[in-house]
């Protein structure tokens, strides 16, 4: 196990946890608002407090989304022919015999997921701030309420799938969120272009 390569630095690991935890809190409190879950008072004290927590956790989430830009945006925007083949083969998730093309640090699915997260996360954050800071302005509130909830639904579909793919579906992946490193051989099989480029 001596040949380990670094896939995420300390800041990226921290930021990922900040995003995950804030997202979890926002989801729980969000569901409580959505369905008027009075039982949640047992956890958050009151809906007043829950609102304050939701809004300020939104600030934390927005900050982590912003910092993630530096880690992923540029790479996620570059779409290669190999990415196209990867997508056509659905990442090999529906057939073990599939031979996948070499991928960079992010594979095509990860790029797509990041862009979706950026879009929906950006929309839910922006609309959340409007609902928070422009109360009573009917036109803006209606649009924001819609945007907040559409992005919420998309996130509820995307995030569990992301968690599954990063844990159960791909053993050895979750350690990136803990240690930031992976075995060189593991990386070579999945991110050949990246290993090549970095010269590991």
């Amino acid at each position: 196990m001596s040949d380990m390569v670094r896939k995420a630095n300390a800041f990226e690991i921290l930021n990922h946890w900040v995003m995950a935890i804030s997202f979890f809190i926002l989801t729980i409190t969000g569901f409580a608002f959505l369905f008027k879950l009075e039982q949640m008072n047992a956890v958050f004290g009151s809906f007043h407090q829950m609102r304050t927590i939701h809004n300020w956790t939104g600030v934390v989430f927005s900050a982590s989304l912003f910092f993630s830009l530096f880690s992923y945006l540029i790479e996620a925007l570059i779409f290669t022919g190999e990415d196209a083949v990867w997508l056509i083969k659905a990442g090999g998730y529906f057939s073990k015999k599939m031979k996948l093309p070499a991928q960079g640090r992010l594979n095509a699915g990860q790029k797509g997921y990041y862009l979706l997260l950026l879009l929906t996360g950006g929309a839910i954050a922006a609309s959340g701030f409007v609902i928070w800071l422009m109360p009573g302005v009917k036109k803006w509130i209606l649009i924001s309420h819609l945007a907040h909830n559409i992005s919420f639904d998309l996130l509820m579909l995307a995030v569990p799938s992301h968690i599954y793919l990063a844990t159960l579906a791909n053993p050895g992946t979750f350690r990136i969120m803990v240690y930031g490193t992976v075995p060189l051989e593991w990386a070579r099989k999945r991110h050949a272009r990246w290993v090549q480029k970095m010269g590991f």
Binding site: F31, F33, L34, F35, K36, L37, E38, F47, H48, R51, G92, Y93, F94, K96, K99, L100, I131, P135, G136, K138, I141, L142, I143, H145, L146, N149, I150, F152, D153, M156, L157, A158, V159, P160, S161, Y164, L168, A169, N170, P171, G172, W186, K189, R190
Partner: protein, 253 residues
């Protein structure tokens, strides 16, 4: 189910003389302070509903062919919708609730001051007090619970605001020759009905009031999709795990 009947008001603008006794009675019963306003050359005053003004007489001058000086006094207040947009969109349990008499009442203690109800209401009714808590007509829910008549209806000297069991009131109005009252069927039936003798727009009211489409769409589609989506994504993941299994390292080429 309680057998208490749905209560309602019928407002007849043609009977209203614009005395604004209802505005005063409401303030008195609800202990709402007066607000200093300026004379704008109309009897309509204050110019809009406020957190201290739950009902208001709107004044409209709409000459018709037969009546060159037709003055209309139209009371404006919460309509106590059966399908209430304010209550639908409100995220705080118990902040806006229905009483057994069908009144759309509220509990300031539970209101979190987000003002989403403003966006959900088709009639631009909810206002906010200095603590950002919802404030509007509650059809004197406290009086009604004790079997009393709402203060504004009780005070009205001409019968322009009448109060009673909704079904009886509708039957009487129909017997008196009104084919259809304003609000009879809108939004599941309003609690505040209007006996208009002309098109609603003459009285400054929407012909077809409705909860904003985006709020209806949110309620019918987006809300259920949140938990079906989450549940579906988790279920699909587990199903994939069972059907295809993980990408074990030795299987990755």
């Amino acid at each position: 189910m309680s057998t208490t009947k749905r209560k309602s008001l019928i407002i007849s603008p043609e009977l209203c003389i614009g005395c604004r006794g209802c505005q005063t009675a409401c303030k008195e019963w609800n202990q709402l302070s007066a607000t200093k306003t300026t004379n704008k050359g109309t009897i309509e005053n204050p110019p809009d509903l406020t957190p201290n003004l739950f009902n208001r007489i709107r004044y409209l001058e709409v000459p018709s062919e037969t009546n060159p000086v037709r003055w209309l006094f139209v009371s404006q207040r919460c309509m106590h919708c059966d399908d209430a947009g304010c209550m639908k969109i409100c995220p705080a349990p118990g902040a806006i609730y229905k009483t057994k008499e069908g009144i759309v009442a509220y509990d300031k203690e539970k209101c979190i001051g987000c003002k989403l109800c403003v966006a959900g209401c088709p009639f631009n009714i909810p206002r906010y007090d200095e603590k950002n808590k919802i404030s509007k007509c509650h059809l004197c829910s406290d009086r009604v619970a004790e079997g009393l008549v709402p203060a504004c209806a009780k005070t009205c000297p001409t019968g322009a605001i009448s109060y009673g069991d909704r079904d009886d009131m509708l039957a009487k109005a129909h017997a008196a020759g009104y084919q259809k009252l304003y609000g009879q069927a809108d939004l599941g039936g309003l609690g505040t009905l209007y006996a208009f003798k002309d098109a609603p727009k003459v009285y400054g009211m929407d012909e077809n009031p409705a909860i904003p489409e985006s709020v209806v769409f949110w309620h019918k589609v987006l809300k259920p999709l949140a938990y079906w989506g989450l549940g579906g994504a988790v279920a699909a993941s587990l199903l994939h795990y069972v059907a295809f299994g993980p990408k074990k390292d030795e299987e990755v080429k």
